[in-house]
Each structure stands twice: as structure tokens, then as C-alpha cells.
């Protein structure tokens, strides 16, 4: 897994910067984010509002719109940089190489088209040619794979519940066996029972087609259930990334630690502690570490120098001045 040079990792994001250009200056929504997505893995990108997580999702799909612009870095999908593609190449790579499961709260399906036609539309758009019977079979197969009855093919979106619509979105996302699935808050606005079903469905199909998946969200509980590795975002940066069990058991970055200790569970009642202070302005981010204004462990250096990212233990990286050369070497992710 670490020797990614032999076989391409399906997605390698390096030093990605996405800024929103406003009259008051650039808002640095994503400011130097790097991560690699390994074949077949499930990565969770978790962050609160304004952390830049949804902007990353848009940028990966090249679906960001003005005033957002990619200012630097690279998004290497299956070995070639998406940022070098023209718009037709981008269009063709969507769905076939990288596909998106949209937010649960959004109605991303066309309200006046039958489900069957929406699935087939995507395939035809990518020059898939099959007989009508073959298309019908493919639709039935896809609906099967997300646990929906084949009859759903002839229905309209308004005839489906929220959970069923999200399953249709998953079926469309996997219709061309992409190597990367991006799911941006796929269960927002869904009830907890349906949420579990949708996330389990996503996980099942991702394993079946062998795709890698990125789930973006704010719910640490969902991340714990879905992801094999998680990246914690704060103020447009990944402050810590690593295997999900290490992150929960032994968080290294103070923000991760506070975030995890603020989570309520149903095991024991305790005093709930939030994180004091406010998220940083991304228009004028604080100097040094982006978290130092709220960090209980802040030192003098934290307001002066941006902490480098260090490999703290196997596959775990954190950017925090609490750690020095003895704790892990500085890496260029």
C-alpha cells in the first residue's frame, strides 16, 4: 500500500489550493491539501462548516464554479493530472473514472425523468452503446446492487423516499465502475435508520466494484462506521490523517483530540465539552498554525510558524508544533 509507485493509486492530491475570490480578497477555502487515496480504501474527510471539505469534493469533480478557482497543486486521477485536462476530457472522466454521490439533502435527480432513463442517460453520455434490452438489464443489475426493486426503474423521483433516491444516486455513481467514488454528506437530512442503510449500501458496492471512496462529512460517528482512514480538516487544511482506529484511540493533533472528546455517546453520561472560540477567518487566516487561536496547548511558536506535517506513527501524519524530530520526521505528503 505504501509503495504506490508500482501500481498507481487511483487518486493523488498534492498541495491543492482552492480560493474563492471575493471583493475583500481571496478566501482560502482549501489551502495546501495533500492526500493519497489507495486502491479500494475508504477515506473519510471530516470537518466542520468552513473547513473546506465540500470545496475539495467539488474540486475533485472539477465542478467548482466561480468565484472558486484552483490556485495550485495537482489532482492526479489514475496517473494523469485532471488540471491539465480540457473540459471534454473532464466530462468523460466524470462517472467513468470518478463519480459523485451528492448530498442527501439535495435533489440531484431530474424530477421529470424516469429512473431508468436517468441511469441510461449517463451511460449514453459516455458513448456506451448497447441494445435497449442490454440497457434495461444493466439498469436492473445496478438497482439490484443497491438493494432496490427492479420496478423502481420505471418510477419518477417523487415516487421514491429519500433513502431510495440516495440509493439511485449510488447506482448511477457506480454505473461505469469508477475507480473513485466521492460522497459529500450522502446522508444529510436522512433519518438515522435510513442513513445506516444508505452508508452500508455505499460500502457494499464500493467493495464489490473495488473502487476507492472518499466520504466527506462532519459526523465523526458516521466516519467511524464507514472509513478505514480519516483526515481531519480545519481551516482549509488537513491537520491530521491516519487509520481510523488510531485517530479515535489516540488523537495527536489538539483539534482532533478536542473534537473527539466533544462527541456524545450512549455509554456514559458526562459533562460535554465544546471547543471554545470561533473558526478562523479564511479571508485573513491567523499567522502560524491555523488552530492556534483556539488551541489549549498553543505555544509562542504556534502564532509564528506554520507547523510542518510529520509522520507520527505508521501511516499517521499530523501538523502540530507539539511534535518534533523525535516524534516523527517531516514529510512532504
Amino acid at each position: 500500500m505504501t509503495t504506490a509507485t508500482a501500481v498507481h493509486s487511483p487518486l493523488v492530491v498534492k498541495d491543492l489550493k482552492v480560493y474563492y475570490h471575493t471583493r475583500r480578497g481571496p478566501v482560502k477555502a482549501v489551502d495546501g491539501v495533500s492526500f493519497e487515496l489507495h486502491r479500494g480504501e475508504r477515506l473519510g474527510l471530516v470537518g466542520e462548516s468552513g473547513s473546506g471539505k465540500s470545496t475539495i469534493a467539488l474540486a475533485l469533480m472539477m465542478a467548482h464554479k466561480e468565484p472558486a478557482r484552483i490556485e495550485g497543486g495537482s489532482i492526479v486521477l489514475n496517473g494523469s493530472n485532471v488540471l491539465d485536462d480540457n473540459s471534454e476530457q473532464v466530462r468523460l472522466r466524470r462517472l467513468s473514472e470518478i463519480a459523485m454521490v451528492p448530498q442527501g439533502a439535495l435533489n440531484s435527480l431530474n424530477p421529470v425523468m424516469r429512473i431508468r432513463d436517468q441511469v441510461i442517460d449517463g451511460l449514453k453520455d459516455h458513448n456506451v452503446s448497447m441494445s435497449d434490452g442490454e440497457f434495461a438489464n444493466r439498469v436492473a443489475e445496478l438497482l439490484d446492487s443497491v438493494g432496490l426493486h427492479r420496478d423502481v426503474a420505471s418510477r419518477f423521483p417523487h415516487e421514491l423516499s429519500g433513502g431510495m433516491k440516495q440509493r439511485v444516486s449510488i447506482a448511477i455513481a457506480i454505473s461505469m465502475n469508477p475507480s473513485v467514488i466521492v460522497a459529500d454528506e450522502p446522508t444529510s437530512a436522512l433519518d438515522v435508520v435510513v442513513q445506516k442503510q444508505v452508508v452500508q449500501t455505499l460500502r457494499d458496492v464500493q467493495e464489490r466494484i473495488g473502487a476507492a471512496a472518499i466520504m466527506i462529512g462532519h459526523d465523526m460517528g458516521l466516519m467511524a462506521q464507514f472509513a478505514s482512514r480519516i483526515g481531519i480538516m480545519y481551516g482549509g487544511k488537513i491537520v491530521e490523517i491516519g487509520p481510523v482506529s488510531n485517530i479515535f484511540k489516540n488523537p495527536k493533533h489538539p483539534y482532533t483530540r478536542l473534537l473527539i472528546s466533544s462527541l456524545p455517546d450512549t455509554r456514559s453520561k458526562r459533562r460535554l465539552e465544546g471547543i471554545p472560540g470561533l473558526p478562523p477567518s479564511l479571508l485573513r487566516p491567523p499567522p502560524g498554525c491555523i488552530f492556534h487561536t483556539r488551541c489549549p496547548d498553543a505555544m509562542d511558536i504556534c502564532s509564528q510558524e506554520i507547523p510542518p506535517t510529520r509522520e507520527i506513527d505508521a501511516l499517521r501524519y499530523a501538523a502540530c508544533h507539539l511534535y518534533g524530530d523525535d516524534d516523527g520526521k517531516v514529510v512532504d505528503l
Binding site: 438493494g147 433513502g163 431510495m164 438515522v192 442503510q197 465544546g274
Partner: protein, 348 residues
Amino acid sequence: MTTAQVDRSTQEVENEPLLQADGVSKTFVSGTFRKHYTRALDTVTLSVPESPPTITAIAGESGSGKTTLARTVLGLVEPTSGAVIYRGANVANMSRAEHAEFRREVQVIFQDPFESYNPFYKVDHVLRTPIRRYNLASSKSEADDIVEEALRTVGLRPEETLGRHPHQLSGGQRQRVMVARAVMLKPKIIVADEPVSMVDASLRATILETLRAMNRDLGISILYITHDLTTAYQLAENIIVLYKGRVAESGSVDSVINDPTHPYTQLLVSSIPQPDPETQWGREQEARDEEDAEIAGCNFYDRCPLRMDECTVSDPPLYRTAPNRITRCYRYAESPVHLAPDLRSVFA
């Protein structure tokens, strides 16, 4: 303010509940030519005593009727049958003075703090309006004192909060301003309708702690309306689980969540995404996908993994499975039927 409030709540009070929803049902009618009836709430009886101050969670998914129950209790929705009684008077036909008292003593906090604000006004406006409306202060400086004290009570610094526009505050701060506004009126009850569902995780904890402190220190009872069993567990003493407008299960929050009896509660609890990678979701499934079917019996029959033939015959009553537990499921038919309509009698 604090001491006065505590004294009031510890006073000797008679057994009459402060607020009672007495067998309330609400049917919504839609459609112009062919009427479509939706029974959002079906004979729910619930009371809030004057003392001791309690925190009760009302939990359920969308369509469970939890928001309808909250709005009915607040007098914002008139029940189709049953009544909401406050201090012995029916909220639907109170005198003007009684209604003013009700409106002051029963406060609400809604889900989206942004929607409660006018973006053009500073947050001060939200706090000063009720002072004027209820004549809480006789001078400008007294009004300032009330506002500042209320902000401090919810853990906000007045100098960092006043004079700002809503968009200059975080979601958590806006929501705490709404709690401050409610607290200023010295309410007896706060109905909190999903107060943290739009708020980031790191701020959620602070708001829940604020609500808990309001209950503990100011003697305010809280009805916590939520879809989230985890926060319900952390905050509340007792819980009412609603399903399609009916009480599915109720009791002390520890026992209901740690040992759910109703198959619906079991499904809800097993669907909680625990923030712990070691505790993975199980694979248990419900009987069918989310399709509605009208049958005579239990309203959960179509989704129930444990359904039996008798469940289609008639709606099960509430069975008292333990001193502080009731559940609407025939699997507990050997337990005595819970006859007292008021759920309060279940709560310890």
C-alpha cells in the same frame, strides 16, 4: 435573577401539572377536491410538573409527530382533539392575561438559529424586543443589565456579542443567544426543537451543557425534541419515542436506550453511528423498505422484524414492562396494560 428563580421552583406546589397535553391528536388535511388526511399526532398525553424541573426527550424520525407535538404544546398548532392545559386553563381559549403569562413562561428554541433572526438587525434587537413586550425593565440601564446577565448565563461575553449582526456570530453563538433570550423571560419551560442539529459538533456540546445548566440552576423544565438518541441520552432524564404520531416506548432514558424493548426503538438504537470504530453497526435489517401500508393493527407492522400475526388485528396498548417503562408491543402482552394516560406516571 438566579436566586429568585430557584426559590420559586422549590416552593411547595400542588399536584396539578404545570403544563399538560391531554390526549392530543392532530390530523392535517391537504388537497382541494380529494381530501388527504394525515394523522400527525395520535392521542398523546404528557405533562410537565411545576417541580421538580425535568428534562424530557421527545424522540423520533421525520414523520413521527415530534415537531407537531412541540408546536401543539406551544399553542402554535391547535389539536384536532384533546387539549393543552397550562396552569389549569386550556391554551386554545385562555384569557388575554393567561395567554400572556403562557407565552412568557413557555419559551421555544428552534432548530435553525439563523431563521429566528432578521439579518438587518443587530443581535441586540432579538434580546431587547421581549424586554419591551413584557415590560421587564423600567429603564434603559435595567434593560442592559438584563440582557448582559442573560448572555453571561449562557456563557457568552456581552462585549463580544452585542452590537453584532447575526452573520458575525457562529451558529453556536446564535443558538446560545436564542437560549439567552428565552432565559431572560424567566420561563418555567423551554421547548427546544432540534436545537443542535444545525450546529457543528464542537459547538453542540456547549449548547447542550447550557440547556442542562438552565435546568439545574434556574429550575427550568426542558422538552428536548430530537431525532438524535445520543444527545437525548446525554441531556434528558426521560424519553418518549414517537412513531407515526403514537408513543412507541417511554421511560427513563438510560433504560430505554441501553435496553430498548420496542422493535422500533431497537432499530433506532442499532442505527446510531457510534463514534467508535470498534463498535461497528450490526447487520440487522427491518422487514421491508420504507413503504407505507395501511393495516388495522400496529403502525410499525410493515417495518417490524419481529412481527407476529396478532399484530395486524388491532393496535397494541402500552404495556408496563417495568416500573419506569412502557412499550407498545404485543411481545410484552404478559405485562400489565398501562392504563394511566399520562406518561409522567412512568417517569421516576
